[in-house]
Symmetry: C2
Subunit: 763 residues, 2 copies
């Protein structure tokens, strides 16, 4: 009998295509007559465009189009605010903003053409910080607005009353910085107008339907005149949800030239054009009893969305309130302000605002634990929300494995033995740190629907084709769907083929965000497969004369339920053919939709927005070089409560990737932005954590078997990135007694803090 | 209010793409690394392959593969008999058989490589005629078989008793020849292996699912490992149903090289590789009363399928019995034998065996009418089957417009005035002739299913996408589906987009054959649209609070049924969005299948195989040059009973095309086959009827409104080709008194007949 793939280490179903180099990325597409596009970006953070002279560029042989803002539709695009043009018109608002787009017969000609464009800019004073932008009398970055892109304020319970009960009140401010998504494949699009005048777009995207919506809005076309097909996508991390202008520019050029157009960012272009994560300054004030119970929590956030808001209002919303749900709280208050500045825009990023606040909160708990003489793990345990609880914001927690996550991490890192090694001498000191996190599995935000539809088609050879609009950006959606269908139809996973998302042929889907795909897509796949199975059993019963209830599906065949020998009534290939070739027949193709029983938060921000909530904890050991200030992570253990691990291999892969990305954010990566200009838009100067910066990674899985998850599963790709930065900061503090609240934890900051501490110790 | 497109002249929805040159034919596809293929064909009608030396070809720079039968799978392919290899092994059975296939980096290199292949053939004695093949002691063309590919024999009633009642018995033999399909676009395929190791095939085909089945069988692959996508198809006429080896060779080369391969026939290659229509020798013996009632009918057919049987057994079956259903008959007998020969294989062709027998039958009726002193029209009327009748073979005729067709034709051609102009003098004589025909609308043959599934997806802009696996080969399937959906959803036809057939994304479908698409696909489209409409009305009722029965769909919006002002409750765009964005929502996508209530004929060949039967009649006037023997059609009127003309423009287009194709078959086209070799495989020597050979065409439509047709419609693309040849032969007889029973009616035959007649008249 073939074993079910659910719970088994399962290589990604598209791994072979990727490692053999046969996977088709958008940049691999070649179409007859295809042009190559390049984009000229503003060198100024803020300027008036006085004049653009494209004549010389247009005269260059091979150049087919040179477009400016005047050629772009009047429509403004954007998620929260419609505020951005495909190409800037009159004003540029950040250094890197798209001003001129060229399509030419080769990449080289397009690049040369850009050099022939002359733009007469009138540089204008720029606002580089939220403080400057929100200062009285500051210029409005967008006309008629006060530079506040979004504001959130709420209070539940009474924070004042809470603080009144506190034995310890601690307030501190944490600063987080923008992280570049760092996917292997930069933004890439090929667009063309087909023979029917429809726009066809092949894109590296996390959501074909959101992409189609954005294209329709920005290009002023009905969605039905657009077809978006996802190509193999080399990572997204949130950056390929909605924010890129790449596909819009390629599409505009295709519409204007009537020829296919390829626009693939090089790495510098991608640094300039993609959205990095939202930098936030978070002020956290917690009140605790001496036992460590949190009795009041006050959050103040000032976030900088850059020149355009994108999805950052939602990101800030998450920072402002998601962590409240991890604890049993009674009194919380948040005030968060999102400011425009004349800097490159920010957006969604793996963890979606959770990383920022969980850095602050876990650092804060560590600090207060020390002040109270408690183990921070004890504080996490004491306050942790429990299965069956409804959180202060209305989240119904059906399962939590946080306690087991904390157990796994602390055991793995030898927390009790290693913590607080005050006796260390010499230059290199070690310390351990820990942090806890929670995340959503899905999120009812967009239009009050968080569902997913899966279509299963059983071919005449008894193998299945699966259609879903949920995108695989490398995280494994196709593998997950294959596993579910294989499991339900008792087929080998090799007999399942998931068709890539395509707005013409896939059922409508929101796409890959908010760790929603396993939850919604997985449930839909189960329903669809069971619908197919029911049809197969009914047909087998009808054709064989056996009562339907005596039949069951085992190992790709309908068998007599009670037969010892598992007598085959009909195999799936035979049934699939019989399903067609008969009176009233048809190809076996079923569709099923699953929409969670969740609620959009109400005007008061209250509501159970996700079916399930995932948890994680991470413990790390670091070594701090007290002479150079360099911090090295020497051990890391992340424990992820993913509900149920469909595919432990994939969970560990996600966890390892998240761990590295968190190490990068905490220690190494930093966009150098000077006067609004990104100065290190390349992988030599923007230092991702490389192999020598990463310890042998270890991770554990906790299966809390959520009652609402498919087979008990919850999302498992974002949670693991959340605790890393705080765990490292806490470990640094454990090692050398300094608290870095301003990410990244650079050698300079550590050295400065060590010196300050020394000064204070000797004062 | 937008007018329904049903019944209105509607340009083909893909006309714009075609006339602007933007339609993508298979030959237009370019893929990175794509190779070009060429095929070396046997020059011998029958030979043993002693040795193939491909070394020099393989050594030619740019050559990537040189394949022979040894490289092809052992599997045999074919429809009725599995008997053919992708590339010949050991033996070749016709001149033109595929022996070696080359893939190279350019078309020119591939062609050069063919010249470097040396094949040592041992020519063997060949059997060129059925008579030779069926002679005692003849070599078996396929091992262990007696050269009979198929045989049909039946009798209903008593033919002997029938002839005993006859006042006139007439027997004659008619010979019909093979017609090359003559589509504008020759066979064309591009194949590649995708990153998952699956075979992707873009093909010019009438059926993507039958193509997939054939590829799977011939390449020994599961169907799920193959994806077939129909490209814009420049005509099929039956030739692109199942018989071509083109896609198999392209696919084999793609599998062997791992690179995309393009194989596009040039015209000569297409003449050699494609199947022409089935040549039959038909002996017809009819018994009539002196009133013209047919009391006995005996048919003997000897048909020549060539070296491989393909679909010709089915074609011969149609010749043997379909015309029996046009009349009220009691006594019929048929005996038909299909013989292999060492000649190029034949196959399906527009009319599918009907043209052959209807040439014989209509010629015969004309002859007997003269002998009885009757108007042949009177004989057609007297014997015609009537609505409500069940034919001798069990066909239930729900509607027939044959009487009206006869009326239209005879009136248009001025039958009464022009017939029998015995007083003509001079070189050029004119005559009129008429013939009647019937055809099926669908045909329950393949696996006892003749259904179709249509998926309708309503996008958020209130426009619809339609998925069907039925292929548009130029006949207008996409337009028909668009019309139906537009009509049912009260949308402008421009708001409907039909997605081309693709085995991965389209619902399973049989494809375009047997004039089945309007019947089955049209019904399925109606059902799917009505399902979508019901969901929209229910949603509008739920959201508006109006009772569902008070709502109706008019002009793209749900309105109050009784409101004088047609108050809009919600437009379709709004409803499509609301269908998603709500609790329990999903993208509006519905699927519906329609399978006709027909029966496969039983072992006794009895059964109502089609939902409906279409009829046609044609009257022509010809001018015969008695000095040269040249026949010119100077007037033609075809009247088609298509049940209901969805699109009169398309019906007239089909009728005109069919008329020209019939004129070509009757007068001009003839494959010159010498010793089994096609000698005129080009359009200079194979003379299609060109503009100067065709009169101003006129046609009429009869709407018999079949009770089982969608909106009353029946098939309308094959019927009109059926009467042409006989009408012309009858007109020639009317003009000059000679009866040509051997197609085509060449000047030589006419002159010879005139001389013979003169000799007889003077004898």
């Amino acid at each position: 009998m073939s074993e079910s793939p659910i719970g088994r280490d399962t290589p990604q179903v598209n791994a072979r295509a990727k490692v053999t180099g046969r996977a088709q990325y958008a940049g691999d597409i070649q179409l007859p007559g295809m042009l190559h596009a390049k984009v000229l970006r503003s060198p100024h953070p803020h300027a008036r465009i006085r004049r653009i002279d494209t004549r010389a560029a247009r005269a260059l042989p091979g150049v087919k189009a040179v477009l400016t803002g005047a050629d772009a539709p009047d429509a403004l695009w954007g998620v929260h605010h419609k505020e951005r043009r495909i190409l800037a018109r009159e004003v540029v608002r950040f250094a890197g903003e798209e001003v001129v787009a060229v399509a030419a017969t080769s990449d080289e000609i397009a690049r040369d053409a850009l050099e022939l464009v002359t733009i007469d800019y009138e540089p204008l004073p720029a606002l580089f910080t939220p403080e400057a932008a929100l200062a009285e009398g500051a210029t409005g970055i967008h006309p008629g607005r006060n530079n506040v892109a979004h504001e959130i304020a709420f209070e539940r319970g009474s924070v004042e009353a809470g603080f009144a009960q506190a034995d310890l009140i601690h307030e501190a401010t944490y600063t987080t910085h923008a992280q570049y998504p760092g996917y292997l494949e930069p933004m890439a699009t090929v667009a063309q107008v087909d023979g029917h005048g429809r726009l066809q777009v092949w894109a590296s995207t996390q959501s074909v339907f959101l992409a189609r919506m954005r294209l329709a809005a920005a290009l002023e076309l009905p969605v039905s005149r657009i077809r978006v097909m996802q190509t193999t996508t080399g990572g997204g991390f949130g950056g390929k949800i909605v924010e890129d202008a790449n596909s819009l520019i390629a599409a505009l050029l295709a519409l204007k030239t009537g020829q296919p157009v390829r626009l693939v960012n090089n790495r510098l272009e991608d640094f300039l054009g993609a959205c990095s994560s939202l930098p936030e300054r978070l002020t956290l004030k917690l009140g605790m009893t001496r036992e460590g119970r949190i009795v009041a929590k006050e959050v103040t956030i000032l976030a900088d969305c850059g020149a355009y808001c994108g999805l950052t209002n939602e990101v800030m919303h998450v920072s402002a309130m998601r962590s409240d749900n991890m604890h049993r709280l009674e009194n919380v208050r948040s005030h968060a302000v999102l400011s425009y500045t004349h800097t490159p825009p920010h957006g969604a990023f793996r963890g979606f605002g959770g990383t920022q606040m969980l850095f602050a909160l876990n650092s804060h708990i560590d600090t207060m634990a020390e002040k109270l003489g408690l183990d921070p793990v004890a504080i996490h345990r004491l306050n942790a929300i429990q299965a069956g609880d409804t959180s202060i914001h209305g989240w119904e927690v059906g399962s939590t494995g946080l306690m087991e996550c904390l157990d796994q991490c602390t055991e793995a890192i030898h927390w009790a033995e290693k913590r607080g090694r005050r006796d260390q001498a010499g230059r290199r000191r070690r310390g351990v740190g820990l942090a806890a996190a929670m995340h959503v599995s899905g999120n009812r935000t967009i239009g009050n629907w968080d569902g997913s539809t899966v279509v299963v088609k059983l071919n005449e050879d008894g193998r299945a084709l699966v259609h879903s609009g949920e995108c695989d950006m490398g995280q494994g959606a196709m593998t997950m769907l294959s596993q579910v269908i294989a499991h339900e139809l008792t087929l080998p996973i090799e007999h399942i083929q998931v068709v890539p998302p395509d707005t013409d042929t896939s059922p409508f889907a929101i796409g890959t965000l908010a760790s929603r795909v396993t939850m919604s897509g997985g449930h839909a796949a189960i329903l669809a497969a069971r619908k197919a199975k029911a049809q197969l059993l009914a047909l087998a019963a009808e054709l064989s004369g056996h009562a339907e209830e005596t039949l069951t599906l085992i190992d790709g065949a309908v068998r007599l339920r009670d037969a010892d020998n598992g007598e085959i009534v009909a195999d799936l290939a035979t049934l699939a053919r019989q399903h067609i070739w008969r009176h009233g027949g048809e190809g076996l193709q079923v569709s099923a939709t699953w929409d969670p029983q969740t609620r959009m938060h109400d005007d008061d921000l209250y509501g159970n927005i996700a079916s399930a909530y995932s948890f994680a904890a991470q413990a790390v050991e670091v070594e701090v070089d007290t002479e150079t200030g360099r911090v090295e992570v020497v051990e890391s253990f992340v424990s992820d409560d993913c509900g149920k691990a469909f595919n432990p291999l994939a969970i560990h892969g996600q966890t390892n990737g998240a761990t590295v990305q968190a190490i990068g954010w905490a220690l190494y990566e930093q966009l150098q932005v000077e006067e609004g200009r990104i100065m290190n838009g390349n992988f030599a100067d923007y230092t991702l954590a490389t192999a020598d910066a990463v310890p042998m990674l270890a991770s554990g899985i906790v299966e809390s078997n959520d009652p609402k998850g498919p087979y008990g599963a919850k999302g498992a790709s974002e949670t693991a990135i959340l605790p890393g930065a705080a765990a490292i900061a806490n470990a640094v503090h454990d090692a050398v007694g300094v608290r870095i609240t301003d990410l990244p934890i650079t050698p300079e900051k550590v050295l400065a803090a060590l010196r300050a501490k020394e000064d204070a110790d000797h004062a």
